[in-house]
């Protein structure tokens, strides 16, 4: 059966991609931020996933307002990036696993999630940059991927509780999968930030730190927030916290923190990364 080794939740700001392309990781503005990912890569070297399920929000690359799915799941054997309009080079395509995607889709729909399935799906910076942070360099990430996009463009957005339940259903579908895949869940976005309006530049450090703490062992404490509450507390784009909540939902075992970092600012954003181990409820360690 497939195994969920844990989750990585991380910011995905385009400026990170620009800094990588320009090789600015050692500059004072960026150094501390990028150093925070050494712990992520050490953890990946230990848990050795071969599948990454990436829960992210599309920013107007694959989806426009003509058709806006609340939850969309990729079902392809390869995913490509494309020009997003602000000058980042197009990222290298990454492998998918269409057969696994369809088994997960079967599981999600069986649990009453009315998702959109995508046999073609362009993946934007919110998908590509976290993979580049986890597996740096010109080669594509050495994992097969399944993209899951959650709408944060157009309200009404799915609630925190609904995103957590999506994660729960996803976790059950993975654990029931007959393959021997070792799966890491990657949730991307946040943390607090707002790009638009007179409140542009809004950052809420106490709220972010509270969320990063609660997500480890008591994620249910975050599920009463409405999406409007999340806009107020985390900023218009800080609602991307929903990706972190969905990713955490997929961890069904005993969850402990393996690594974390919180850094202000990256561009207009409070940047966070959190790595969670997922130990099976029966106590068997997944990591040797």
């Amino acid at each position: 059966m497939a195994t969920i080794v844990g989750a990585i939740t991380t910011s995905h700001v385009p400026a990170i991609g620009r800094a990588i392309v320009d090789g600015r990781q050692e500059e004072p503005y960026w150094k501390a931020f990028f150093e925070g990912y050494a712990g992520v890569r050490d953890w990946l070297a230990r848990v050795k996933p071969d599948v990454a399920i990436v829960i992210y929000n599309d920013h107007g690359l694959n989806f426009f307002l003509d058709k806006m799915p609340t939850f969309a799941v990729g079902a392809a054997d390869q995913y490509s990036n494309a020009d997003e309009g602000w000058g980042l080079p197009v990222a290298t395509p990454v492998k998918g696993d269409a057969a696994l995607s369809w088994r997960l889709i079967e599981g999600l729909v069986a649990e009453d999630f009315d998702i959109t399935t995508c046999q073609e799906m362009l993946v934007d910076h919110a998908f590509c940059i976290p993979l580049g942070l986890c597996w740096p360099g010109p080669e594509p990430a050495p994992v097969r991927t399944v993209p899951i996009s959650i709408n944060t463009v157009q309200h009404p957005l799915p609630s925190a509780a609904r995103c957590f339940k999506l994660g729960r259903a996803l976790g059950r579908a993975i654990e029931a999968d007959p393959s021997d895949a070792r799966v890491v869940i990657i949730g991307t976005g946040g943390l607090s930030h707002q790009l638009d309006g007179e409140r542009a530049g809004f950052i809420n450090k106490p709220f972010d730190l509270m969320c990063m703490d609660r997500l480890v062992a008591e994620p249910e404490a975050l599920l009463h927030y409405s999406t409007r509450d999340l806009v107020r507390l985390a900023g218009s784009q800080g609602v991307e916290l929903l990706m972190w909540i969905a990713a955490r939902g997929a961890l069904l075992g005993e969850v402990t923190r393996a690594h974390s970092q919180y850094h202000i600012p990256i561009s207009n954003t409070a940047a966070g990364v959190l790595v969670l181990d997922n130990d099976r409820a029966d106590g068997r360690r997944l990591v040797a």
Partner: protein
């Protein structure tokens, strides 16, 4: 929904809901088209001629002409699509943050840094 009250109004924040999505459709469609490099070049060559392809409202035409983000939001623009317009115009997120909050870019950056404390 739990014990946290739902906010009616959030200062300086326009929730991009169905009403905004309807109002801003043409403007956002124009911004979405700027994912394409040839379209960005056409826009920069003549903004008004390019926008005429998209049946913008007079308010949207005026907002694009102004390069003013608050006016673009008032005309139904969505932050994620407006980011493509900003990129086309060579403005980064600190530039548009400063513009919207009425401070210099340096002051805006200093505010971001101050949020760390």
């Amino acid at each position: 929904m739990g014990d946290t009250p739902i906010s009616e109004e959030i200062f300086g924040t326009t929730i991009f809901d169905g009403e905004q999505a309807r109002k801003g459709y043409a403007l956002n469609k124009m911004c979405f088209s700027l994912n394409d490099a040839a379209n960005r070049a056409a826009f920069l060559a003549d903004e008004a001629v390019y926008c005429a392809r998209f049946n913008l409202t007079p308010q949207q035409v005026s907002a694009v002409r102004s390069h003013n983000v608050l006016q673009l939001i008032a005309a139904g623009g969505n932050a994620y699509y407006l980011a493509k317009l900003a990129g086309t115009l060579g403005l980064n997120m600190q530039d548009i943050g400063a513009q919207q909050t009425g401070v210099s870019v340096e002051t805006f950056k200093a505010r971001l840094l101050a949020a760390a404390h």
